[in-house]
């Protein structure tokens, strides 16, 4: 394989292939975004740039309500997942059972969304029956709470990995030094360690927002009586197929994700160079 130094074209061809695969994977989304700005919609011979479908979206009350729920859900999921991710990374560093704990943390990624959501649905139904029959409580009825639990299970592994990777670069001696100087464990973490892992926590936050914002299957199973943006889009698409409105909705979701990921990557790259 070192032969490619003698033959730069082979090297370039491989780079080209790599870029090609990334572009190919992105192409459906890029295509959708392009069409969403076309006044004539899909398959038209002419292309006239317009934002009219986007303005329509923001006049639709149902969509606004769904967007509101989506952001509120994402906010709660971030607030719950971030501390849990940091705690689990800390737990991983101190536990003797590293590999089993790691496997447990990553396992939710391996189970298909609908299988896990179905199991959780039946679990919550059982719990909710139990609490209402025994105590008359409305715990674990399908609601915001159950949707949050489902999404946290989905986001936690990512936060855990990102935070863990950042923490690995931190030198634990600094915490020891802080503790010897009389800082409590909390102050040592908050004043010494946290500023150094902030970048990782920041990207973990961004990823959680995106994952929660885009999550469909679990939310659809576990949500109470509300629609999030993805569940709204899917029911709309399944009912009416691809219309200019669905293109605009897809465009909105995709561009939000692209902007967030792009910002995180740019910040990370700039930090690395600084």
């Amino acid at each position: 394989m070192m032969r490619e130094y003698g033959n730069p074209w082979a090297h370039r061809a491989k780079w080209l292939y790599l870029i090609f695969v990334v572009v190919a994977l992105m192409s459906p989304v890029l295509h959708t975004v392009t069409i969403s700005f076309n006044e004539h919609g899909f398959g038209a011979a002419d292309y006239d740039f317009t934002l009219v479908y986007y303005f329509d979206l923001f006049r639709n009350e149902e969509i606004l309500a769904a967007l509101g729920w989506t952001f509120w859900l994402a906010f709660v999921v971030v607030v719950v997942t971030l501390p849990m991710g940091i705690l689990s990374a800390k737990f991983y560093q101190t536990t003797r059972w590293k590999v089993p704990f790691l496997l447990l943390m990553l396992a939710p990624l391996f189970i298909p969304a609908d299988i896990m959501a179905a199991a959780l649905l039946v679990y919550f139904k059982t719990l909710s029956r139990f609490f209402s029959d025994t105590f008359g409580l409305e715990w674990f009825d399908l609601s915001m709470t159950t949707a949050v639990i489902g999404q946290v299970l989905w986001c936690l592994p990512y936060v855990f990995v990102v935070v863990l990777v950042t923490m690995a670069r931190y030198h634990a001696e600094q915490t020891e030094a802080a503790r010897i100087c009389g800082a409590t464990a909390w102050r040592a973490f908050w004043d010494v360690e946290f500023p150094q892992i902030k970048a990782g926590v920041f990207s973990a936050t961004a990823f959680t927002v995106i994952l929660s914002f885009n999550e469909y299957t679990r939310t659809n199973f576990l949500k109470g009586g509300f629609e999030t943006f993805p569940t709204y889009i899917v029911s709309y698409m399944l009912n009416t197929g691809m219309t200019p409105e669905t293109y605009a909705m897809s465009g909105l979701v995709s561009m939000t994700s692209i902007v967030i990921v792009g910002a995180v990557l740019l910040l990370a790259l700039r930090k690395e160079q600084a």
């Binding site: 491989k14 609908d114 039946v122 946290v152 994700s257």
Partner: protein, 307 residues
Amino acid sequence: MSQPTTTGGRRQPASSPLSDLLTGERGLGRYAFYLPLAFLIAFFVVPMLLTLVWSVFERTNFWMEPGFTFGAYADFFGSARFENFLRAMKSSAISVLVAFVLGFPIAVFVRSSVPEKAQHKAILLFILPFMISEVIRIFALRPILGRHGVLNDALIGSGLIDDPISIFIYTPTGVVIGEVMSYLPFMVFCGFLAMESVPRYIFEVCDDLGSDTLTTLRRVIVPLAAPGILAATIFIFINGIGVFLIPDILGGPGAVNAGTLVLNAISALDFPLAMAIAAIMLVILMALLLIGHWLFDLTKLLDPAKR
């Protein structure tokens, strides 16, 4: 957190009873580290294991009651569901193969020929498609793959074909295309993760010893990267069988996989059947992971010390 403790300067130890209770040496804070573990056990391990129990419950009209019956399993294995399940396994296996052929060389290339500093950045490119809503990505394939879609237009425009090809979508091929488009990044990630433990001089050694690229791949690289390949294989295979969105959106009328079966069982309020299928998926996943672990020690991937 309590405010007053910080007023005397940051270096002063906290001392109010409340902050002691929360963050003190013997406070409740110690137990906070067990919170994620408790959460995962309560809302992940227990529900997943309970699927095994629920799957043998008796079905009632709207719910189920404790009992011991293999009715749900008989229902699954004795009907067309099982054939559909096997077909989903086959198409999923094809997707794994295609993803390997298309994706693994990228991981090898990045590891062998990209400067060490730029490697992670090159791999990060594959996060981009993965960060966009799965639903949108799959739906967006419809206007690409259809009879009058972009792909057919391009093929006709380039003179390769005369009539539009209709096997790209609403067919088993469509499902495979959707799965490869969705899960290819995992092959790249896991392949690269495993390749990281392969020292770069290996490529030079193989080259110096006169082995050609294919032999190097087959005899040296693939065995060394086997844990990563296997992890990606299990992931793609299980999700290919389990995720209902892809056959639902890209498959034809008959396209069914385990996810669709679970969904249908739940809409029919047949909870034991849904749980039986979930339990079967869980068992298959565990079996694959155990076999993989037995063959290659998958923990090598996770534990840098073992590399």
